[in-house]
Symmetry: C2
Subunit: 233 residues, 2 copies
């Protein structure tokens, strides 16, 4: 409920996002009732802001980013941005929410009845593609974790923890059946994350060291090779 301000009574209820995060975009006057669909203008401007926010936050983290930068990048004025999102923080957490959804899904989608090596390699390949196609998301996430995950620690210790434990159990069961080598499942998962996200987060270093090559084709092959060696009995 808002005071004095122009107050369209709707709410954009695109509830996707990780459950623990209010990944719903917010208007200042949002309340829980009465929603209207987005107008084209809203859609356009919100996505421009999301894109600009991603661009800026993924580089400089929350503290290092400014609304002015986001305004410049999105082509909107600062007050106009605050018309669509009630604060810098909301832009940031909205981005994080969408990101977490995208990241948790493929872990959940692993098929316990599939071929173990194919499933694990498939997951790694998927993460690699995300590093290639959405490097900014990866960097945004890295930034948030590096500074201690102040806004998502609850997600890490609940949903992520849970989903990873389930995956780890699955891996363990595959090992026990002799379908893959006996590996530490949690640390296997960490090394998949590490190797794949490295190509997004350290993209600049990778390219600087490599010269002019596109790192991805060879990188993907290498990661696959590495995991196959690790997992094949």
């Amino acid at each position: 409920m808002s005071q004095g301000i122009a107050c369209p009574k709707f709410l954009t209820d695109r509830k996707g996002g990780c459950s623990l995060l209010f990944a719903r975009h917010c208007f200042p006057w949002d309340d829980e009732f009465m929603s209207k669909p987005e107008t084209p203008i809203q859609k356009k401007n919100r996505s421009a802001i999301m894109n600009a926010g991603l661009e800026v936050f993924s580089k400089f983290g929350f503290r290092g980013s400014t609304l002015d930068q986001i305004a410049l990048e999105s082509g909107l004025s600062k007050p106009n941005i605050l018309y669509y999102f009630k604060s810098k923080e909301v832009i940031y957490t909205t981005l994080l929410g969408e990101l977490l959804t995208d990241w948790l899904k493929p872990v959940r989608d692993i098929d316990p009845d599939g071929d173990p090596i194919a499933e694990i390699l498939g997951y790694a390949a998927h993460k690699m593609e995300m590093s290639q196609n959405y490097p900014r998301q990866s960097r945004l996430y890295a930034n948030e974790i590096i500074q201690g995950a102040p806004r998502i620690s609850n997600v890490l210790t609940s949903e992520l923890h849970e989903v990873v434990d389930k995956f780890a159990q699955l891996i363990k069961s595959w090992s026990k059946k002799g379908l893959i080598r006996d590996v530490d499942p949690h640390h296997l998962i960490f090394s998949i994350w590490a190797m794949t996200q490295h190509y997004a987060d350290f993209d600049f270093q990778v390219r600087a060291v490599l010269g002019h090559d596109d790192p991805f084709p060879k990188g993907e092959k290498h990661v696959e090779d590495m995991l196959r060696q690790m997992l094949t009995v």
Copy 2:
């Protein structure tokens, strides 16, 4: 040469650091001549500032960190900090300089005549220890690379590139002699960096997912296992 200001004519010439970075600590009045040894007070305060700077910059990056935070963390006043380092930027680049030195050295120290697998595993173990004992340095570096390495891109494309190429050649030669599997040397190096630094940069996530265990003993074993599988013919 400085104007008007109290002007002790010395310079702390601890030239360590990566050649391309002025890793020398700076007094505002530093000039290239006439150096005096550090007084105990200087030593204490500088190292307090370095430590506080590392603490803050490694979390929030350059843009996201403030002199006030560093002042608070170090227990010195803001102007007093600027008495020892002439700007925020100098604190930051000094830290980066020291860090790059520490990181380049172990790559250079790899023995071409040693046992290939022992050398590579030894390097990985060393990086793992650095992640365990100096996680803030790792995060500082990650922060810098993520935002595009604006202050060290020249080091990446020259010294790092060079040193890595040499290491890669060595690995290639080991492969050719049949001492290790045929692997992509550059991407092998990347995966070593990725897996080891992950335990520092994503420490928070690792611990959140794992619960209360210390991740390092098992992590180190896992990485060793992984590399051994990858390299053994």
